[in-house]
């Protein structure tokens, strides 16, 4: 049975929103953790603000709040319906998308999504403070894992699967790129590779925000170094949140669509162009051309993938 263009769009955005909810939870968790241990004056809110910048919700926050403390930031990133990227908004949007394509996803996926939304929507924001906040953030990540598990375990490997996967990895690529860009300056090569306390704290922040602080050790067997961190999150094919990993995944799924539909579309060019940016290159070359410029180019090409998919497969 052919798929409606609307269904394809709903599937793509369904998994984008689930991934985004997870990323929001992770960013908030990191900001919160770091704010607890920051000894410098104003350091606490600085971490939280960094995380909102990475999530690109800082401007919306400033418009509503004067003070960035744990409570206001947590509420804005978790529960605020005015924040289109809050966990609340993401889960609601994901669930609405899932409901619209109820027939294109499996019962297990639907139950996972519906269950997550029903539980989350019952939570009263004022009951979530301190340890409870961390527990809830953990819960959000787990529900995202559960949904992904249901997806991988139950859905047919057809066009719908490829739209879901493409959405997931376009979103993840965007997230990693923004995390890097928020602190790109602490990753730039300097005369000395030995970082001070402040650098180490910033590096930890970056790695944690990408759930990469443990994996880093497994790959590099070394202390934190700016060069390695950038390499890990951009060019390491075994790191599931690195730009190259995500770009590869997007490319594979777009290829799968070409195979299913029997021809290539604009989105194949867009996906190839995204991948070409991170394939067959190294950190030295990226630093030479400018890390910040590189990340912005990556984000722009990643956005182009969404637009091209939408044009190629009649999203509406």
């Amino acid at each position: 049975m052919r798929m409606l263009g609307r269904t394809a769009a709903n599937l793509f955005w369904l998994s984008r929103y689930v991934e985004r909810a997870e990323n929001m939870a992770r960013l908030l968790e990191v900001g919160y953790r770091m704010s607890l241990t920051s000894r410098r004056e104003g350091g606490a809110s600085e971490h939280l603000i960094s995380m909102m910048q990475a999530a690109e919700v800082d401007e919306g926050f400033d418009a509503k709040h004067e003070l960035a403390d744990v409570d206001t930031v947590a509420h804005y990133m978790m529960f605020d319906p005015d924040n289109a990227s809050s966990v609340y908004s993401c889960l609601q949007a994901a669930r609405t998308n899932a409901r619209s394509v109820r027939t294109a996803i499996t019962t297990d996926m639907w139950e996972s999504m519906n269950g997550a939304w029903l539980e989350f929507s019952q939570i009263k924001p004022r009951d979530v403070r301190g340890a409870k906040l961390l527990g809830l953030l953990q819960w959000v990540k787990q529900r995202s894992h559960e949904f992904r598990g249901a997806l991988l375990g139950t859905i047919l490997r057809d066009d719908g699967f490829s739209f879901l996967q493409a959405g997931n990895f376009v979103e993840r690529a965007d997230n990693t790129a923004r995390i890097l860009d928020m602190k790109y300056y602490v990753l730039l090569p300097r005369a000395t590779q030995v970082g001070g306390d402040l650098d180490i704290q910033q590096w930890t922040l970056i790695l944690r925000a990408a759930s990469a602080h443990r994996a880093y050790r497994h790959v590099y067997h070394d202390r934190y170094k700016a060069h390695n961190i950038a390499d890990f999150l951009i060019l390491r094919p075994e790191m599931p949140r690195s730009l190259v990993y995500c770009a590869n995944f997007v490319q594979q799924n777009v290829d799968a669509l070409a195979k299913i539909y029997g021809r290539k579309e604009q989105c194949h060019e867009a996906a190839e162009s995204l991948l070409s940016l991170v394939k067959d290159t190294n950190m030295e070359a990226i630093f030479t051309d400018g890390l910040h410029e590189f990340l912005n180019e990556f984000i722009a090409r990643n956005n182009r993938v969404t637009d091209a998919l939408s044009e190629s497969y009649n999203f509406y």
Binding site: R2, L4, G5, R99, R102, T107, E111, G115, Y261, Y313
Partner: protein, 473 residues
Amino acid sequence: MADKTPFDEMYNPDGSVREPYRALAGWLAEQPDKALALMQTDAEAIFRRLGITFAVYGSDEGTEKVIPFDVIPRIIAANEWRRLSKGIEQRVKALNAFLYDIYHRQEILKAGRVPEKLILNNAAFCPQMMGLNPAKGVYAHIIGVDIVRVGPDDFYVLEDNLRTPSGVSYMLEDREAMMLLAPDLFHRSKVAPVENYPENLRRTLESVAPDTVRGSPNIAVLTPGIHNSAYFEHSFLADQMGAQLCEGPDLFVDGGKVYMRTTTGPEQVDVIYRRIEDDYLDPLTFRPDSMLGVPGLFDAYRAGNVTLVNAPGTGIADDKAVYTYVPDIIEFYLGEKALLQNVPTYNCTDEDQRAWVLENIADLVVKEVHGSGGYGMMVGPTATKAQHAEFRKKIEARPDNYIVQPTLDLSTCPTHISGDVAPRHVDLRPYVLIGDEVRITPGGLTRVALKKGSLVVNSSQGGGTKDTWVLED
């Protein structure tokens, strides 16, 4: 009728258990304390997780409720069902013959068996359907017949639903839930299956595809969208049939043919099981302000390039005022006496009958001719004096807008009410499919009025549902 104890489907007046309920009675007696309450909680969780919800109009936007499910099944004996299904089949055949006639030569009007004015001036009559020939001559492919029982052998048809009857997904999910909750009870009984409904629906839809279609027809379920109260059902049925679930904007008409917008471009649609009301189907033919429909759809239908299920204009056959004539309709087209009785209905436009109605309103049920869902109706014996007065005024102002019937003492079934088992009134909606043949799913949806003494079973008015068992011989 209202004064004596209502007929109970499980217990005889002397307290002994009626034959079809034997196994259930034994099972109920064995259940430890709180077992039913636990099952009830489990059932609620199952339904919520599955997303089997409905939206209540008028309540907060976006609220979805779970329709209450009662864990005690309603049971119909094999011989009782045989009688019922014969009567239902007769009725749906006659109603389809009536629709064909009304939209062609109108013999029944010429013969004076049904008043011409009642049909031609009726809002549910669809002049655009005149002379149109739907595939296989079928107009109403999916019918839900509302039946009530008042005695061991007394069944009445309360109304025929020929537009877009809903609730069949509850019939199917109630069965699923019941099998999860009480598998041991199924072992003790021979229950006729209901789960082939989606397969039969698909067959029915395929059988009425336009003649020009070669191979397997492309079927779409047309829904108003996720905010519709029956959206769950629309997606459920599309899923179960392997049909495409579409909203208006997913379809378009080009050159008199209907297409869906797919990832690889337009694809022609052959059969549309539409769950959108007539008025909203096509803004070019019906309501111009409809955002839900598909412009040009009716022309494509008229050209025979797509089949609409049910056909537009079927509402003329389930109109509450036309209902009174169904026994005559059966006789006229089939030459047979009606096997199922109609509820006696008073005509308020007749002066004598109206006077009698106004006097006895406290014992009667008043329904708006075009009302549904339990809205705009009054049950005399449970209504207040003020409501009686209000409806007297309404009838006097617009006698043609109301039908009035005696209060039927609907049968009761044992129902789980907060830990106890108590009798509650029920009705029954069997689902009938009409295409190349008539297919009736054994049983149907039992709706139960959960409030003590209440006779209103609609889910929008606090009604619940029960799994309905037809026993096999």
